[in-house]
Amino acid sequence: MTGIRALSFAVVVLALVSTACSVSTPRHEAASVRTSGVGASATSEARGDPSGGDPLPGGSPHLAGYRQPGGPPRGQDPEPETSPGSATATPSAATASTRVGEGTRASGVPPGLTASAPGVTKDSITVSVIAGFSGPLAAMVTRAYDGLATWQDDVNAAGAISGRRIVLKKVDHKETADGGVAACKEALSNGSYFALVPEGIDATLTAVSCLDAAGMPTLYYSATTDPKWRMAFADIVTSAGGGTAMASYVRTRLGGATKKVGVIYVNQASYKEMADHFVPEAKKLGLNIAGVESVEANQASFTAPLLRLKNAGVQILVISATTDAIGILRDAKSTGWTPQFTGWGFQFDFVTEAGRNLFDGVAGVRSYATVDSAAFEKYSARMRARGRGRNRTDDLEGFNAYGHGLVASEVLKRAGANPTRQSFVTGAESMQNYDNGVMGPFSWSPSDHVGVHGVFPTVCCNSDYTWKGQGPARTTF
C-alpha cells in the first residue's frame, strides 16, 4: 500500500512539475523563435500581391532550368569538397555520366556542368529531407513530403535546375534529439548536397547544428535557431518578427491606438517570444498595454487570467497560442467577455475546424498564405496534376513544404551552374525580398540567415472554416 501511494505521489508531483513543459502543439505549427539579434524591427513593407509575379509552376523562371542570376557569381568559390559521403560526386562518376548518348537526361545536360560538390553530379542534385517520418507526427510529415515530392516532380519535369534533376532522400529524425544527430550522420553519408529540415524542435536543433558543423547547407523550419549557424537558413517568419508585425497590425488594422490591449500567451518558447517582442513594439507605437498573462498548455480552464484581463478593461486581446486558443476563446466567451480577439500562432485551418464558431470574426496574422489565395490555388492544381490532390482544409503541410521547395529552387539557381556548398550559402545570402507567394517575402544576408519576413493578415473564416486572406503579406501595417 505504501509503495502504491509513493508511486502515485511521485507520478502526480512529477507530472505537475512537468506541466509547464508540456507540448501541445504540433511541431510545425509553432512559429519560430529567433535567437539571433536581427528581426525585431519591422522596416519595410513587403512587395505587392503574393499572387503577382507567378512564382509557382507554370510560369516560374526558376523551374525552367538554370539562368545566371544577377546575384551571386557562378563558381565563385573553389571550395574543396572533402566532406564525408561524396561518393556520388567524384570526378570519375561525373565523367562516366557525361558520355554522349548515355540517356535522355544526359543528352539534355548543358555543357560544362561538373560534379562540383558532394551530392551534385552533372545531371542530379541529391537533397536529404530530414523529418520525423516515423515519429508521432508521421502523418503530418507524410503530407508535407507530398508537397516536396510535387515540387521535385515539377522541377524535374520543367527541365530540372541547370539540367540537374532533384533527387530527394528521406531521412528520419524521429522527432528526437538523438534522432536528429543520427539523421545528420545519415545525410552526411548518403551523398546529399544539402538538407531540407521542414519540421521538428529538438530534432531540428541537433540535426541542423550537426550539419552546420560538418559544412552541409540546410534550409530549415524550426521553432528555434542558433545565431552561430553558418550554413543554415530559416525560411519562416520568426515569432519575434511575428510579434513585431502584430503590433503594427493591432494599431493600424484593429484601431488599437485608442483602445486597451491585453496579451495572453502559452508559456512555451515560441509563444512567449512573440509576446516578448509584441509588447515593447506595441508600447513604442503608443499602444496601451493593459495586461499580460501567461497560461500553461492544456490548462483545464483559462478563466482566471482572462478575468484579470477583463477587469483591466482590455478591449483587444492578443492571443499567442495554437490549439489552446480554442480553450481561451471558449472560456472568455463563457464569461460573457467578447473583446476583439486577435493573435498569432493559431491561424491554422485545423484549429478553426476544431473550434468553428468560436473563431468567428477573430483576426490575426500568419506565416503562410491562406487557402483562398492564388498561390494555394496554383499549388493545389499542381498537386492534383501529380495525383496528390486533397481537400484544402487538410493540406497546410503540403502547401508549406511546397513553398520550402520553391525557396530551395531559388537558392540552387543562385548557387551557380556548378554549385558548391559555399556557393549555396552565397546564393542564399543574396536573396532579397524573395516572394513565392506561399510564405511571406523575406531577405537573407551574410549577417542574417533568418531574415525579416512578411506576414499575411487573415480573419476567420471562409464557409469551410478555413482562414480568409485579407491582402498581401507585409512586415508592417
Binding site: M1, T2, G3, I4, R5, L7, S8, F9, V11, V12, V13, A15, L16, V17, T19, A20, S22, S24, P26, P136, L137, A138, A139, M140, N267, E293, S294, E296, N298, A300, S301, T303, A304, P305, L307, R308, T323, D324, I326, G327, R330, D331, S334, T335, G336, F350, V351, E353, A354, G355, R356
Partner: protein
C-alpha cells in the same frame, strides 16, 4: 470572484468524475490504472466519429463509445491484470502505463494529433445569472455526475453485485471461498470503470481542446483528488476533485505568479501524504 468559483466548480466536477473511476478500480484491484484516461479518450473519439462523422444518433453513439471503453477496461483486466495477480501491484501499474502508451499510439495514428471539432452534446443558451453563464454542457456534466455518484453509492451499499465487489476488494481469497466468482467480479469492476471513463470522456470532450491527449492531462489532477479520498472513497474523491477545481481557479485568479497553481497543488499532495498518508477521507468498504 463568483465567476471564478463557479467556473472552478465545473472544472472540479470533471476532476471528480475522473477520480471516481480511479477509485472504483483501486477498490477492486488495489492498483491505480494509469490507462484510465486513455481508455476514456478512445471511447470519446469513437463516439465523436460515429456522431459527428457518421451521423449516428447521439444516444446510440454514446452507448457505443461507453461500451467500447468498458470492453477495453475488461480486456485490460483479462490480458494484463489477471495474469499479474499475485505479483506486486507495482507490476500491474507499470503494465497499465504500457496500455496507456498503446492506446495513445493507436489513437494518434488513427485520429492524428490535432484537436477535433465536437459540438456541445446539448444545444441551448444555458443559464445566465449574476454575469455568469453556465452552458448546457456544464449542466449535463453536473446532472450526470450527481446521478453517477448516487448510483455508485447505491451499487456498493445495497446491491448484491456491490456486495461481491466489496467482498472481492477486501479479501479475494475469502470471497472466493464463500462462492463469489472473483474473476468475474474483477472483470466487471474493470468494465464498470472503463465505462465510467468513456462516459466521462464523452461529457468532457466538448468542453476542452479535444485531442488524443485531452484526458491524460486532466487525469493528473484526478489522481491527486483520488489520493485525497484515500483511493477508496468515491464521495471523498469526488468532493476532493471539486475542491481542487475551485482552489485552482481561486489561486490562479488571486495570484498572478506563474506556476503557482502547480506548486500549491504539489505542496498540498506532499503535505497530505506526510501528515495523513491514508487520505483525508477513507472508505471502510
Amino acid at each position: 470572484m463568483t465567476t471564478v468559483i463557479v467556473n472552478g466548480l465545473f472544472v472540479g466536477l470533471v476532476y471528480g468524475l475522473l477520480a471516481v473511476g480511479l477509485v472504483v478500480i483501486y477498490r477492486g484491484s488495489r492498483i491505480i490504472n494509469f490507462a484510465y484516461g486513455e481508455t476514456g479518450m478512445i471511447g470519446a473519439f469513437v463516439f465523436s466519429e460515429l456522431w459527428v462523422d457518421h451521423h449516428v444518433p447521439l444516444l446510440l453513439a454514446m452507448v457505443a463509445g461507453v461500451a467500447l471503453s468498458a470492453a477495453l477496461g475488461a480486456a485490460t483486466e483479462v490480458a494484463l491484470i489477471r495474469p499479474l495477480r499475485g505479483q506486486p501491484p507495482l507490476n500491474a501499474m507499470v503494465g497499465t502505463l504500457a496500455v496507456a502508451a498503446l492506446i495513445l499510439s493507436y489513437a494518434s495514428r488513427r485520429y492524428g494529433l490535432y484537436p477535433r471539432f465536437l459540438p456541445p452534446l446539448v444545444s441551448g443558451k444555458g443559464v445566465h445569472a449574476g454575469g455568469i453563464t453556465i452552458s448546457p454542457n456544464q449542466l449535463v456534466i453536473l446532472v450526470v455526475a450527481v446521478v453517477l455518484l448516487a448510483g455508485l453509492g447505491a451499487l456498493y451499499r445495497f446491491g448484491s453485485f456491490g456486495l461481491r465487489l466489496r467482498a472481492t476488494a477486501l479479501d479475494p481469497f475469502a470471497a472466493g471461498m464463500v462462492g463469489v466468482n472473483t474473476e468475474l467480479t474483477s472483470v466487471a469492476t474493470w468494465a464498470l470503470a472503463g465505462g465510467l471513463a468513456g462516459l466521462s470522456g464523452i461529457l468532457i470532450a466538448p468542453a476542452v481542446s479535444f485531442s488524443v491527449f485531452f484526458m491524460s492531462t486532466l487525469l493528473l489532477r484526478s489522481v491527486a483528488a483520488a489520493l485525497v479520498g484515500g483511493l477508496t472513497s468515491v464521495s471523498g474523491a469526488f468532493a476532493a476533485g471539486i475542491a481542487l477545481g475551485v482552489a485552482e481557479g481561486v489561486i490562479g485568479y488571486v495570484s498572478p505568479v506563474k506556476g503557482i497553481v502547480e506548486v500549491a497543488l504539489a505542496g498540498f499532495v506532499i503535505v497530505l501524504l506526510l501528515v495523513r498518508p491514508s487520505g483525508l477521507v477513507r472508505s471502510a468498504y
